[in-house]
Every structure is written in structure tokens, then in C-alpha cells.
Symmetry: C2
Subunit: 190 residues, 2 copies
């Protein structure tokens, strides 16, 4: 059972046959460090499952500042879901932080999977639901906690991210400047 199969199976029990049918609709792809998976302004044609490596999504605000939205390690999905689902222009960029192996699914295949494999429709609905829930919870936590607390929580819940992702991405994900994260890390060491 490969990673994708395992990951789907965690949410819905899926038969070998259904999974293979789904797998036939996907495409394994390599993406090099710093290459773009999605460009802001384009319509997101794919969603990606990360087999190995790291991708991240971010957007550039009016003032030209970059804000990291999501960091996807192995076994996570990433895209500009809004754009993918609505066919409108993406507002996020998605880019590889490391050379990565991903499995991608086109909009067309996604819809076919939803139409013909009920378990997969259910899976994707749960995926969106969870994405929403996490997003809500993240908002609720952003406000409550200081940058230091947010960093410590990230270290605790996603040590892998802290180990493998350059600090300035993490700073941006936490909503602070790299210098501030550096200062915060210093106070933690003491």
C-alpha cells in the first residue's frame, strides 16, 4: 500500500479496486526546488499530494510582502483550492521548497473520480471540510497567542516543518519577520 493509498484510507475505507481506478486518474510528477506548481493569476488546474519533499503556498500583498499560507510536507495535499474548485484565478502561488515527488490530479479527473467513485467523492468532501476546520482553528489561534507561543506550538505539532523548512518561511507562516523569529528563538534558548 503506497502513501497515497494509506492517506486516503485514513479517512475512508477504500477497496484496492476503487483505489486503482482512482490512481489511474492521477499522474506522478517531479518538481524541482523553487519551481512553481501554481502561479498566482492562472487557474489552478491541479491539486497535488506530496509523496516526498515540501511545497508551500503564499501570496504577495499590495505592499509586495510575501505571506506563507501553508507548508505541505509528505502526505499533505496542496493547491489553491479556491481556484481549483471555482476555476477563478489563483491568488496564491505554490512552489517547491525541496525537490519533490508529487501526485497530481486534474480538475477533470477530480470530477470524474467524484462522479464514478463514491468513496473518493466522500474523501474529497472530507478533505475540504478538514481544510476549512483547520483554517478556522488557525484563525482562532492567531489572535490568541503571541508569536513566541505560535512558534512553540508549531515546534510541538510539526517538528518536521521546523527542522526541514528554512526559517524565513516559518517566520512568514507565523506572520512575523525573520529577525523577530531569530530574536524569539534566542529567548527560548535562554
Amino acid at each position: 500500500m503506497n502513501q497515497l493509498h494509506k492517506s486516503i484510507n485514513e479517512k475512508v475505507e477504500i477497496s484496492e479496486q476503487d483505489f486503482n481506478e482512482f490512481l489511474a486518474l492521477t499522474k506522478p510528477t517531479n518538481i524541482k526546488k523553487n519551481d512553481f506548481f501554481i502561479n498566482e493569476g492562472d487557474v489552478a488546474k491541479y491539486i497535488a499530494f506530496v509523496n516526498t519533499g515540501v511545497l508551500y503556498s503564499y501570496y504577495i500583498d499590495d505592499k509586495g510582502n510575501k505571506h506563507v499560507i501553508q507548508i505541505a510536507l509528505e502526505n499533505y495535499w496542496i493547491s489553491d483550492l479556491f481556484s481549483f474548485l471555482s476555476n477563478e484565478e489563483a491568488i496564491f502561488n505554490v512552489q517547491a521548497i525541496e525537490n519533490s515527488e508529487i501526485t497530481i490530479i486534474s480538475k477533470q479527473s477530480f470530477e470524474k473520480a467524484c462522479d464514478t467513485i463514491p468513496k473518493m467523492e466522500r474523501f474529497f468532501r472530507l478533505l475540504i471540510q478538514n481544510a476549512y476546520i483547520n483554517s478556522q482553528r488557525r484563525i482562532s489561534k492567531i489572535y490568541g497567542a503571541s508569536a513566541k507561543e505560535r512558534y512553540l506550538k508549531l515546534v510541538q505539532s510539526h517538528p518536521q516543518i521546523v527542522q526541514r523548512v528554512p526559517q524565513h518561511y516559518i517566520a512568514s507562516y507565523l506572520g512575523i519577520k525573520p529577525q523577530s523569529l531569530s530574536r524569539i528563538r534566542k529567548t527560548i534558548l535562554e
Copy 2:
């Protein structure tokens, strides 16, 4: 055509018949100012559509601070969607800010509607999708902008909220203290 019908019709074209079938699954309810629609720790049994009035959701953090998550005026839906969909304990409270007329739907009716009225299943999926998208966009904007900018954006996009909702709720929604909002409003007037 009542507000609920109109609101659904904005997302999916629904026949009179389908709508009436759906309506039969709902229950009009009055809720008084400061009454709870959902209590943190309970499972959210209903979602609510606001016909008149205002409800809001919030959570209380470890330190006892209250954080407003959503403010729902007329034509908006509100609940702890996570709890409603997953049957787990709610982490948010939902409470009326004004005496309000709402239309509520139980989990059972929600599922029945999804099973028997395809348009309604589609509607609810879109509702969750949109909730997710708004949530994502909200995160992306929290970090980019100062409290003053966030307030000005709220005034522009939801003037009704600013007019009708007490300031300390708005401050909390923006992630700042009432005193800070007061100070910010003063600088805007100058």
C-alpha cells in the same frame, strides 16, 4: 420568495418544489439577545440561517480571553460547522447579539436534505467551500495588514456590521482590544 429561498437561489437554481421540500425540514426559531445558540463543549445539533438580527461566534482561549470568529447578520449562516459536521464537541460559542429570527436545521434534516434533494447537497457543499475560501482569505489578510487597515476594510466591506454591532465585538473580531480600536478610530477621524 423569502430570504432563505433567495439566498439559496443565489448559489444554485432551486425549484419551488425542491425549496418547499427543504423548508419542511427546517424550523423557524426566535432567539433573544444574549441567548446561546451553541455552547462550547456541546455537540452542535443545528446550523442557523439568520432572517433578522445578528448572531456571533467566539471562543475563549486558555487565558480566558474571548475571540470573536464570525459575525452573522441577515442572510448569513452560522454554527460551529466543525462540530455540526463531525459530531465532536463544539469549540465555539454562538450567541445572539440582538433579538433574532433564525431558521434552524438539525443534523438529521441536513442529511436528509442532502440525500433527497441533490440541489441542496450541492448548495451545502458550496456553502462549506465558500466558508473555507473566506477563512483562507481572512488568514492571508490578517497578517498583511495593520489593525487600522483591517478595520477600514471591514467598514468598507461590511458597513452594516460596523453600524449595528457594539465596538468591543468588532475589536475582538479584528484581534485587538477595545481601547486600541478606540484609538484607531480617533486617528481615522483626524
